[in-house]
Point group: C2
Chain length 350, copies 2
């Protein structure tokens, strides 16, 4: 590798069509980011034949050979014991300082478990979270946690708010993102205890967020907040409900056009518009969920995405590394003392 | 009232544009259901001028005068103390046997609180739930709980499965509905403790359901189950995420068409198809959330719906009354002993 600092570690064997889409995705990302280098981990017999087809990419890649890999059905508890998988080695490269971030399209649970074990959670952060960038009617927002923590307490939620705020500043370029807690009502009394406590905590901390209180899921598309905070179970349910419904409406439209002679006549005129809407909601353009709260950045690409989708995940990693995202979280969490605040909150509430 | 048994009690004052849309909705429902009678509760000075515009409806209506009503901002704890509101009196008519179901477009929390207090939960059912009928790609499914119970244990979820099964048989006309628990993964180990326990309970009870295990929200549109069971917080989050996204995609399409000259040329050909898709997702056609598990049926109409939407809620009430829905739940819950089963489950799990 060169002396250039911008190195992303890549699990070449993760995902449904690896290593092909991984390498094709890297080729796209490399063109966009001529200053970036990639440190690949995977089976050289499988990786090299494909990598050789991309001479420009080959020049900015280094491959470390390993025949072992994490499979989709592997349990987190078992994958953390095998240090020879492409995923483990790719994450470990970040710990060693050989790379600043790691991207994998492999098993989400395994990626989180190994990332936590190897990179460790940032001091004072209790739990890392999974964040994604998502589309609303005229822009984007970030949502977290999307599944790292099934159960969360108020401190976890307040920390997600802090990390989401930093991510929105870096990834969406906002000066003062609007932060909201996902809930089933806008009134203060609505929802779960931990959500109410988190609201109290965020308001009374030194986090200095532009906190907008509660937001209900149907309001998200109306651009009411830039950071949506939820526990991992709720966030995952919302994310998958959004994905499923977007796909449903587009599929209904397609099927209706197929069945209508009239609509087929109009299709040449409408195709541009329909493709534009489809693109706005295109999951590939929002690929690359970021694991935040760790000493190093892990980015999870969707396992079934294509080369374009994988390149978006790599772009996310590069963008956050360039802006020193992890260091910013470390600095800002130092300014707040959520543990102390939580005692006060619990005293207040009960 | 006549000797005819089919009487629906109506809170004429609930909802954003009451009593106008309530009465206009009843006019639509009355045409479809010539055997139904309506017992209205509301301010005669406001109701009669509108009701007089519908002579056919007037013949099948009886109005009980009251000047008091439940407001949107009223708390459940206060509304249960005022027996003179149109909502309270309408629910009480079901308890007295003057009507078999009650429909209101008012405050959801108040409707649930008064319904529970006045109608009481069916013996052996621990918690009532809110159910809705929803669209998937080629049909409909039912989902519960949509918000009555923020926190649920395994017994609650198992009972929701039982009640959802009965509702799907009655409302969707299915012989053996496929029942699934909403979760964030398909594997047995995924999700919250209470969901895993509920799965175990449903499998090992005498409920005799066609239980399909876990379903993730993005799979619902693919017609994988007829009954989707969740706690009230999760169900409400999923419901509102679905509503918001459906509206977002349709709005994006509309806005894109507005901006495109080409698309406007094609619009006359495509309009039929676009309206058909919009209709498939039309929230008015899925209006009328049913409160199940009570000794009597309460149906909640969306507060902001129009006459068509309100008539759908009334139709739901009539459909379930005609099929003796409440009696069926009473009979079937007698056959299972969830409390006993739960002891066994907890013993198994821990």
């Amino acid at each position: 590798m060169s002396t250039n600092n911008l190195v992303i570690s890549i699990d070449a064997m993760g995902g449904d069509n690896s290593p092909r889409i991984v390498i094709e995705g890297l080729a796209i990302a490399a063109k966009k980011n001529p200053d970036a280098k990639f440190l690949l981990f995977g089976d050289e017999n499988k990786v090299m034949p494909i990598l050789n087809q991309y001479p420009a990419l080959l020049k900015v890649c280094e491959l470390r050979h390993t025949t072992e890999m994490v499979h989709n059905e592997d349990k987190p508890s078992s994958v953390i014991r095998n240090r020879n998988t492409s995923m483990y080695m790719a994450i470990d490269a970040v710990r060693k300082g050989e790379a600043q971030a790691i991207v994998s399209a492999g098993n989400t649970g395994a990626l989180m478990a190994i990332s936590k074990l190897v990179l460790k959670t940032i001091q004072k952060i209790h739990r890392p979270a999974i964040v994604s960038i998502m589309p609303h009617q005229n822009g984007k927002y970030v949502m977290l946690d999307l599944g790292a923590n099934t159960e969360c307490n108020a401190i976890n939620l307040a920390e997600f708010a802090l990390m989401g705020d930093i991510l929105a500043r870096h990834a969406l370029g906002l000066k003062k993102p609007r932060v909201a807690l996902l809930n089933i009502g806008a009134e203060e009394m609505k929802g779960k205890e931990e959500i109410k406590q988190a609201a109290h905590m965020i308001k009374n901390s030194h986090m200095n967020l532009d906190f907008r209180g509660y937001v209900e899921p149907h309001e998200i598309p109306n651009n009411v907040a830039d950071v949506i905070v939820a526990d991992g179970f709720t966030g995952n349910i919302a994310l998958k409900s959004i994905e499923g419904t977007a796909r449903l409406v587009i599929r209904l439209l397609k099927n209706a056009v197929k069945k209508s002679f009239m609509a087929k006549l109009g299709l040449p005129f409408m195709l541009g518009v329909m493709l534009r809407v489809k693109k706005t909601m295109d999951p590939r353009l929002y690929n690359g969920a970021m694991f935040v709260g760790l000493n190093g950045l892990s980015v999870k690409s969707h396992g079934g995405t294509d080369a374009l989708g994988f390149s978006v995940a790599v772009n996310n990693a590069l963008m956050l590394v360039r802006q020193n995202f992890v260091a910013t979280i470390r600095e800002e969490i130092e300014k707040v003392d959520l543990d102390e605040l939580s005692q006060e909150v619990f005293y207040d509430v009960y």
